[in-house]
Symmetry: C2
């Protein structure tokens, strides 16, 4: 792909992320407008709305996975784990909006998105391992239930459109349940 | 309403709860079949699919609200609170399926469902108050964040189609975060 085509692709993806993240009912025209390109350019890169949405969704998951990989070498593993948890929950609203737009467009996440999702879960598992080894997270909590809690906190924050302060108080309860020495 | 009409209405609602709770894409014909009545009888009670779905959804919320009211006089307020929390999460899958069927039918929860939902939240708040007064739940957790946690745990269990054991381990983490003497 030539450099200007690559630039355009990235501008379209960035615009699409903003547009669909804010409203699942947005149109490809809205994306073209925000990206400052013609609608034909959008369709040249992404022949269908589903392809555009899948690319945006995959990008979202890949970015989170990369952020988790970055944090996996942080000096304080406990802080890194809880920071990442909070970031996923804070960004959940726009991520779910993109997933919803994908469903509304008659598709589900494709192979790329599934691969990125699996990578994200694995990277989160590594953050959890390190946090447990450092003593910041209880060792009797396994990835399946902690990941379910991450998804749950994300959906809970989104479904009830929580104010940031309420979201943070909810997260404080979740974090306390994950800390060691708290098993009943 | 005559007794036999009332019986039919209840049979239809019970069948609809089962049918739509298992599959949001189910049809009114499936409901009539399970209820053992003709499709005309279903339409006599519920002229549209939306009306049927709203009635089922409202019934679901009212039953949970009534269960919460029952538990509000239980001998052990802590046990009552956590039992109710677990019941809501365990039943979330079929409840969300009904809500999804309602969305697919082009509607959102109507006035009756909203009233029942508000009643449920209030009844849950009373269970929380009692559990806090008895020392079973930390007093620095307010209803908005605890309710968000309830919704989140419900959605997390449903979105990831958790096995009951994983769901219970997830709930154990949530409960530990809600217990007193755990604030960080």
């Amino acid at each position: 792909m030539r450099a200007d085509a690559r630039d355009n692709r990235l501008r379209i993806l960035t615009a699409a992320e903003e547009v669909f993240g804010a409203s699942p009912a947005a149109s490809t025209e809205d994306v073209a407008k925000l990206a400052g390109v013609g609608i034909a350019t959008v369709f040249r890169h992404f022949p269908t709305k589903v392809e555009l949405l899948e690319a945006v969704y995959t990008l979202r998951l890949e970015r989170l996975r990369d952020r988790a990989a970055e944090l996996a070498v942080a000096a304080d593993p406990g802080e890194a784990f809880f920071e990442f948890f909070g970031q996923v929950v804070a960004e959940a609203g726009s991520k779910l909006a993109i997933a919803e737009a994908l469903t509304a467009a008659g598709s589900v996440a494709g192979e790329d998105a599934r691969r990125a999702g699996a990578g994200l879960r694995q990277a989160f598992g590594e953050l959890l391992d390190r946090a447990q080894q450092s003593g910041a997270v209880r060792v009797d909590a396994a990835l399946p239930e902690v990941y379910a809690l991450l998804i749950g906190a994300s959906r809970g924050a989104t479904a009830t459109a929580l104010e940031p302060e309420v979201r943070n108080r909810m997260l404080a309860l979740v974090y306390d349940g994950l800390r060691p020495g708290r098993s009943s």
